[in-house]
């Protein structure tokens, strides 16, 4: 009997944990991305994170979209038009389809992942534009873990964590699939801080993000993200350090929040 009650409690808590309580359909967050050049912070691009509803004949899904576009003055030097999107379950944020279409200074690449949660596999399609104008396609089936998500879904999933229950120093690992490889992202809670933002003085959760077994993100606790310490957990500000420099993302506009 005890076992049955325990299993029931675990099942209910697991279900409650997997429920989306922070992200609304129709939410739009706009950021200004800056990059440090010779010690000066220069505005480089606008990044947007947007959610919308997508209906198929069988189901209702949530589309999580992230775009990055350079400001006009940079377009003739290094034009960036990146699109990352993921189609997820509106309640559990389980990903079903992921698209990544990047155009960075003439470098074009497209990635598509179709998630099969029954077999724990991802059917991936990679399309690259070659210099002569032709495209190269590569299809692959990648075995993944049952908690593996794409990059966009993970960003939103972090917002859905119960950070208010975390203690300073607590950390959690998330497995993501990127470029057909599984990677582990570690998110560490560093405490609360109050920041000035477009939303006024905002109390935030400060999180440090690191990538295990990868040198893409540099430094120790140098890649930070501040999420508003409310039910929406909006990313207010982010600082990153990569091999070729460092930069930041600052919230410019926010609309359509759930709470």
């Amino acid at each position: 009997m005890k076992r049955i009650i325990l299993s029931l409690v675990l099942l209910i808590s697991a279900k409650a944990l997997s429920q989306n309580t922070s992200i609304a359909i129709g939410e739009k967050l706009t950021y200004s991305a800056s990059y440090v050049m010779s010690g000066l912070l220069t505005d480089l691009a606008e990044v947007t994170m947007e959610t919308s509803e997508v209906n198929t004949s069988k189901s209702k899904l949530m589309k999580l979209k992230c775009t990055a576009a350079t400001y006009t003055k940079w377009d003739s030097f290094f034009k960036i038009r990146d699109l990352y999107e993921s189609y997820v379950s509106p309640s559990s944020l389980t990903p079903y389809l992921y698209n990544r279409d990047i155009n960075e200074g003439g470098y074009n690449k497209f990635m598509k992942y179709k998630f099969d949660h029954k077999t724990n596999t991802v059917a991936s399609l990679k399309r690259k534009l070659k210099k002569d104008g032709s495209t190269v396609e590569e299809k692959k089936t990648v075995k993944i873990g049952n908690a593996t998500r794409d990059l966009v879904t993970t960003l939103y999933y972090i917002r859905n964590m119960e950070i208010h229950k975390a203690k300073i120093g607590d950390n959690q690992n998330f497995t993501i699939i990127f470029d057909n490889k599984e990677m582990v992202i570690n998110v560490k809670y560093l405490g609360k801080e109050t920041l000035n933002s477009v939303l006024g003085k905002t109390e935030c959760y400060k999180l440090a993000i690191s990538l295990k077994n990868s040198d893409v993100l540099k430094g120790n606790n140098d890649n930070l993200i501040w999420l508003s310490a409310d039910a929406n957990k909006i990313p207010i500000y982010a600082k990153f350090k990569i091999a070729v420099g460092s930069g930041e993302l600052k919230l410019k506009r926010a609309s359509g929040m759930l709470n």
Partner: protein, 111 residues
């Protein structure tokens, strides 16, 4: 020494002007200050000699600082043409809906 300062000042002033016309205009202040300091030192080192080179450094420096300040004050950061991106996004959404129809999305809310 005066010659070295004039050369340094001239190179820094030219660099400041070049940077001021590019999107990196904010960075032009660094060589502009270097050019200004080099120019001032060169000016006071030998007051009796010709000032034409120093004047040229000052003119270039003032030009770069004015241009960088103007760009900093009046040009706002605007996103370029994203029409192509929007079209691509729409096309991808249509393709994705077709593919999602075939995918096993069991357990999802039914419309």
């Amino acid at each position: 020494m005066r010659h070295a300062l004039l050369i340094l000042g001239f190179i820094a002033a030219v660099l400041a002007v070049v940077l001021a016309v590019t999107p990196l205009s904010q960075m032009s202040f660094i060589p502009a200050v270097v050019a200004l300091i080099a120019g001032i030192f060169a000016f006071y080192m030998d007051k009796d000699r010709s000032k034409k080179a120093v004047q040229l450094i000052f003119i270039l420096t003032i030009l770069s600082i004015s241009l960088a300040t103007y760009k900093g004050v009046f040009s706002s950061a605007e996103v370029g043409n994203t029409e192509e991106l929007k079209q691509k996004e729409q096309q991808l959404e249509n393709e994705s809906i077709d593919e999602l129809e075939d995918l096993d999305t069991e357990g999802l809310e039914i419309e």
